[in-house]
Symmetry: C4
Subunit: 288 residues, 4 copies
């Protein structure tokens, strides 16, 4: 107990354990967190598969527990323990963080918060149970545990490519929205009145248009009239070209980015490292 | 009433309200139009979902109205009001437009007309009810209300890319048409006679070929014989490459366009703004 | 009759009608051929949709014709007439062609032959009925009737792109073949023994692997076990990247081709027309 | 028998037969191996289609064989013979290989081993029957029999492109994993409680998210509530862009690789052959 108190007082040592994996203690801590994340996900999988509700006070008050009751109790206790664990971990992380304010607003600071507190809250306010979905955010933390920072750098390149294409993509999505509403309405008029049709309303038909244009094609709604099949054939073929556009946009930007940064962020002429936003190599003046 | 008459006489002030959103009145007008568009779309969704016909004179003549009758009456009245609103808006827009002739043939002039008059017409000529689909065009007007002109500029770039690829795309579509007819006929011969087949005619088989080649794959028509499965497997794998072609075409053109215009329509060497159709930078002579 | 004989003797005038559309007669001839192609296709569509066999001698011998019998007679007579028409057209085309040998082996010479003779043959040898599929080739002739030669030039560019990527594509297809056999066998082992499975044999599972990898996804065969779903999820995500490869190959080649030829087959520097296989502009020496 | 013994002693001659196809004997050997591979695959297809278990000792002990029993016996004997053949071939190949150690660890050395020994092992240890999947690896050997080495060179280029994009792809896959877990959980919460839903658990919903994001779209799990359809529509449209990313990555790298190597691995300026890893042409100094 004394050693724990001592540890809690020595913020630097604590920080080394919680956020650094060079020490054996740090590695053990990382392993524990990762295991807890995996267990918490498996727990959610099992709970949803078994269709058991959470264990409530009513169950506890009932005199004898059935087999399912015991299972529910076990799952609920495990979940409470995990929530406690993640809460303690979050508090520790904040406590020993030297630049606390930067951490709150950093990417992982927000992820840690969203992955922890909503569930803690839902224990006290059962109505907020739907917040349990935040649990999925814990997965993102695996990026940190695996120290995937170099990969995250690559991710920034991807993100930058998508950001730079954003204007084009927004117009494109607005265009797609208008298009699917027009096509959906058209198909509802062609197929809607036919007996046995699956185009039962305009929203249904719009959903069909999206499923078709994106080439997902579930087959839950399909045209059965000749006119409907002719129109959807045209939609598919023309749509294939339309839907090829975002691929073109992202490819074009990505090729541009890749060229700009050179191979591995180095100048293609003198092979010196280049700054991320540089337009010219600072060593030889080559246009990047 | 006098103020309305005065407003109607002051074309310039009216134009400021109808087509300009710098004034509070203009903003309020834009908001009203946008709400009307959204309400008109929701109305179409509800009508199609409830499978209620439009309220007719016969309904009005019947002595007592059922619940559904009242709903029909409400929806019909709302629709008439919206049609009236859009008609008045269109008339106002034309009335106060200084360059009226340019407006008629401008992109939004045509969209406004198509989104308004067909429905007005269908009130007097019920046989033209199928024109109601034109209602979907109102969505396009959201682009204007949201002042998405800069986005529309991006859209022009996309459109230009598609236009420049047009020749290639037309040959491609003709080729695809011939291909699906040949493949559809082939599959009908292989699968057609088999009991329990879903390849019931050549047009059905052509529809299947399109659904398969575009990788939509509804699953409403699927091969069940060994020969049919072998042939469709080959169609899928080979077709995947064929269908990759439009992506390639659009990507190639888009990369070309992007390169030509430089980053953000600026010269890649001197960073000066370039004209849209310029082949050389007018500042430094760099080939764009 | 005399005028017809005179026309048949004047090969040059006949050639003008059959292969040239500058004269009114040539235009009328083109229109007739195109109508015949469309009618012949519609005929095939109707026949396959009605599930009526061809009219045979037995039907003719039976004393009274039923309604379906008359329809069959009509369709069969129309088909014989069309076959006759296309045969006469082909003979005329050969007869008045000045460079007859070049025509036989030209692209359209072969298409004309395949679209005409197999069906003529199948009249005399009913066992060859499956040759009727050749009828679909008639569609290709629409390219000629529409004088789509400039488009066909574009098509050659596409074809060249595909040809130049051929080596890469062949390795790719062999790789895909091996991959789907391995994945199909794996899935059969995982899903095969499960009651209610749709993976009933290894060939079925290979067919499933192809349907999944190409993202067609009919849904006629789907995994139902947990292990099967985990494996197919991995197949889909990894497969998406693998299947992205031909798009990459074709795009890369097409971008290369486009760059080489310059905009519209012109030199990017001096805007002079370039030869199809030129590596340098013959006017200014720019590397293409 | 003496000739066989002599042949076995003459390692060089044996090597010429087994690994060289310039001699008539070598060609015959290649043909035999290839036939054996095809027969072994067809055997697996037939066995899986007929749902017959392997012939066991119990069957042999039973006094009279049924028709199916004879078939089982035939298939089993044929399989044992093929396993024997491939084992002998492998032993021969190792025996006459001059650089035996290099062979063990070469690509084809490993493929040969995996395609042969697991099945031999499964004869003696029936529990290892699932190893039979290794049989599929035999297909890879067709690459060698067809002497597709030049194609394999092309394959190396593809592989290099994929390798160079690896870092980006790994981040991408991690991102997709997190995304499908979040989306799957979300959809389970929206659709899960609805009667007649096919979203029966979170793992099921994650499987659905993968099937949808990759645009495979089997249709075995589809949303039926309005909220579910709205969310999945958004997933499809946004997902289409996300899933376009690997295509962009692979395309960008492939275009880069193609440009670097020049046309056919030649310098784009002086047309001399370039080394595979060269950054500059060794003839004219052009940057590749």
């Amino acid at each position: 107990m004394n050693r724990l108190t001592a540890l809690l007082k020595d913020k630097e040592r604590l920080h080394n354990i919680v956020s650094n994996d060079d020490t054996p203690m740090g590695k053990a801590f990382d392993l524990t967190v990762m295991s807890a994340i995996v267990v918490s996900l498996l727990l959610a999988f099992v709970e949803s598969s078994l269709h058991v509700d959470e264990f409530t006070m009513d169950d506890l008050m009932s005199k004898s527990l059935t087999k399912v009751g015991w299972l529910k109790l076990g799952l609920t206790v495990l979940e409470y323990l995990l929530t406690l664990f993640f809460t303690v971990e979050y508090v520790l992380r904040v406590y020993c963080e030297p630049r606390r304010k930067d951490y709150y607003l950093s990417f992982f600071g927000i992820v840690d918060f969203l992955a922890t507190f909503p569930q803690l809250l839902s224990i006290f306010v059962p109505q907020l149970k739907y917040l349990a979905i935040m649990r999925s955010f814990r997965l993102i933390r695996i990026f940190r545990v695996l120290k995937l920072f170099t990969f995250i750098n690559e991710g920034y390149l991807l993100l930058e490519s998508i950001k730079r294409s954003m204007n084009k993509l927004i117009v494109y999505f607005l265009f797609i929205t208008v298009l699917v509403v027009v096509l959906g309405t058209l198909m509802f008029m062609v197929e809607g009145g036919y007996p046995g049709t699956s185009f039962r309303s305009i929203p249904d038909s719009i959903y069909w248009a999206i499923v078709t244009l994106t080439t997902v094609g579930y087959g839950d709604i399909t045209p059965i009239t000749v006119a409907g099949r002719v129109i959807s054939s045209m939609i598919m073929i023309l749509g294939y070209t339309i839907i090829a556009v975002p691929t073109g946009i992202v490819s074009a930007t990505m090729i541009d980015e890749t060229k700009k940064k050179g191979k591995n962020g180095r100048c293609p002429r003198c092979n010196q490292k280049t700054d991320l936003n540089a337009n010219y190599c600072k060593n030889c003046g080559e246009r990047l």
